[in-house]
């Protein structure tokens, strides 16, 4: 008789267990951000993806892959993999020879109940105020269990 317990010697045949996929979205309404002056002017939006949608309580150590579209950056229907961190400056004009720009950052983390995708718009420039456009963030989060 084949002893299946012997197969436990390594985890070589183990894969990433696909658990769930959920869409998410957030809107960062346009606001005017004064120039940086020791205080960083910014606003944020968090999209939360519940991890217990299928009725199973999950630990915070769930893995994820997040496809995301920032509509001020990607064309409709195109997605990048957030893969941890997104950080990009967008120039919207110039003032006195200096570029007027805003910065968009995004990252993700797990807590006990949700996978949270945090997007922040800020003005790191000490020269100009800036009014970014309204930014719509859409995407889908793949949740998988991994071996932890």
């Amino acid at each position: 008789m084949l002893d299946f317990t012997k197969l436990a010697a390594t985890s070589a045949a183990e894969g990433l267990q696909y658990y769930d996929v959920q869409p998410f979205g957030a809107t960062l309404a346009s606001q005017t951000l004064p120039a940086f002056s020791g205080t960083l002017h910014q606003y944020s939006a968090t999209a939360s993806v519940p991890k217990n949608r299928l009725g199973i309580a999950l630990t915070p150590t769930i893995l994820s892959s997040i496809l995301i579209n920032f509509d001020n950056d990607q064309s409709a229907g195109q997605f990048i993999n957030l893969a941890g961190q997104y950080q990009k400056n967008f120039t919207v004009g110039s003032s006195g020879g200096f570029p007027v720009f805003y910065e968009v950052t995004a990252y993700a983390y797990n807590d006990a109940n949700n996978l949270n995708i945090v997007t922040t718009v800020s003005n790191p420039s000490a020269v100009n105020a800036v009014t970014p456009p309204t930014i719509n963030v859409t995407g889908k989060a793949f949740l998988y269990l991994g071996p932890f």
Binding site: T5, L7, A8, A9, T10, S11, A12, A13, E14, G15, L16, Q17, Y18, Y19, V21, F36, G38, T39, L40, Q42, P60, T61, I62, L63, S64, S65, I66, L67, D73, Q74, G77, Q78, F79, I80, N81, L82, A83, G84, Q85, Y86, Q87, K88, T105, A106, Y107, A108, Y109, N110, D111, A112, T120, S122, P124, K140, F142, Y144, G146, P147, F148
Partner: protein, 246 residues
Amino acid sequence: MLQMVLRLLRGITKLLMSVFDPSKIQITVPQFPMDQIIGVKTGSYTVAAGGPGGAATDGSDEFQTNFGDSCLFVGLFSVDNGVSWYTNGSIFPNGVDPTAGQLTLSFAIESDVDGTVSASSQNFTRSAYTVLYKIALLAKPDQLPLKPLPTTDILSYKSNLNYMKIVLDNVITLPPSGSQVIPHNLGYVPNFLFWVGSDESTPSDNRILFQGGANSGAVIDSENLTLTNSSASRSRKVYYRIYADA
């Protein structure tokens, strides 16, 4: 009586044939390959507080896989003793400097061709941290033969679980500023992961990093994955993996 014995023998023969005829075995062989986990590592390291003006400190932990090769990976990091976990490549923002702006702690995993895997952070914040990490090592499509790291876990492949299903798994080299369109033709936007070679200046450096976000140079839609090398001076080796899952 003889007819009963003959019928019994025919029945046994039929049963045995049905057992040993592979076409009669109703086990579904997976249609798609899946990620092969070749090791799991958990650990921690400390990183001192960053300095004034956004000066950074570094903290890391590294281990030897003895694979004699690099590998792919996924992972998580925690700075609050496991209450919340940040994905590899993410940041933890904490504070603003009057001159440097937003202060962050970063998280990164690297895999070197000599078999070393490291978890590290660069700390711009004014706080010190103990960073916990969890890493799963995945085989590359061109992985050299190796013995997976031993684990006390039981083999957890179960047919009642759903696994990430790979439809395209490849490695390409992009020339400086080059790009390549990879058709997947799935008709929907699928999940994908990718890893790139280090852009360090040492030619022999064959580390693998995980990249994403704005600097990733990877965009996917319902038909294609487009990879672009953001370096204008160096070619880059890129591993990509497109899944059927959507």
